[in-house]
Symmetry: C3
Subunit: 159 residues, 3 copies
């Protein structure tokens, strides 16, 4: 078991088996040492996390912010699952998480986009330590596939 | 005529002559073996395809989904036209379609974003076969340049 | 003083000292010769430029377009500040501005997204000349972090 797998186990994270692609796009493409992973949506063992955040969700009392952070974390778990396949099963080959783009399903007025995307960013640092620190853009989207609350895509350097 | 050009001809696609850039950005930049192509909008021989999709367009009966898929296909054709210039006219130099980002002009409630962007993804596989399979993110945008329905940008590996 | 620093001085631009990251993402990551810089928002000496553009801002008479272009220029200045750190203080190491993604906080109906993002694109060409010309995508976002009007991220090739 690699150090990364041990870390995942200690976090209680069991990476899902990635679904086979159902369209003409694929979960990831490697070019040189870079792996581009397709946008992963917020779906987990309990299904999809859907919803559209509004200004009323900014205060954090509605519980929606925590739900959205959990959704971002699910996206990160799904990125890890795809990345593991890209690494031939060995996440120890990950040199650096280079870039994440986080898209949050929300309206004008919802401003805590960075806090939501931290749900994904934090997991990468929990799992990879400093190699998990990444450049990032976090923006609002008017809608996302299937109505999911968060979508995150990533670029990774592997050995 | 390269194999790719022959494929384009068999699909009845006549790549447009890309417009010269009118601003301080350019249609593509190559760095190493990667070509980053600027976001291409849905414009074809009949002009721009504009419009904003809403929840009522999800069911597919309005005809708007098909229109949007056609718009995405136009974006892909425009990407190919720019890519051909990047390749010095020889699309046979394309090693791999690495990554597409598809932005769909829509409101909360429109969920068939992946189906729309498939209009672009499918064309790349029709033209390049397995080398056309790519990583992808597909998201909703509240608005797009000139009100176009779809914008797609791409990263390509060339030899 | 490098030629680039001289150019910045001639433009009256004093690059800010980038803030230390406050989360598990970082301002930039270098992989090979590419530097991915995190999405920078419109914040300057006078604070953040916030706001959401609507169809009524298209005509340019409201003054909002000029404000938005200024916001995009601030994003570009903040990208330059981070890029300078990535270059160990020497912006003369920048080989090429490869790619910018500009996100404009706006509603359906606001169509002048390219004009807004030109506020960022133009600065890179003012500073770097032809090496500042870049591939670009410009899209609308329903909301942006803290309600800022513009966010821009970038990919750069350095020596």
């Amino acid at each position: 078991m690699s150090q990364v797998d041990a870390k995942l186990a200690s976090l209680g994270i069991d990476l899902p088996t990635p679904a086979a692609p159902v369209a003409n796009y694929v979960p990831f493409v490697q070019t040189g040492n870079l792996v581009f992973v397709s946008g992963q949506v917020a779906v987990g063992p309990d299904g999809m996390v859907t919803g559209h955040l509004t200004g009323g969700d900014n205060d954090g009392t509605s519980g929606t912010l925590a739900k959205a952070q959990g959704a971002a974390r699910l996206c990160a778990i799904n990125l890890l699952a795809q990345l593991k396949v890209a690494c031939g099963g060995d996440l120890g080959r990950v040199v650096r998480v280079v870039k994440l783009n986080g898209f949050v399903n929300c309206s004008d007025g919802f401003a805590q986009i960075p806090e939501v995307v931290n749900g994904a960013s934090d997991l990468f640092v929990e799992v990879f330590g400093d190699a998990g620190r990444h450049a990032r853009a976090a923006v609002g989207s008017s809608s996302l596939p299937r109505g999911v609350m968060v979508e995150v895509e990533g670029v990774f350097e592997i050995s």
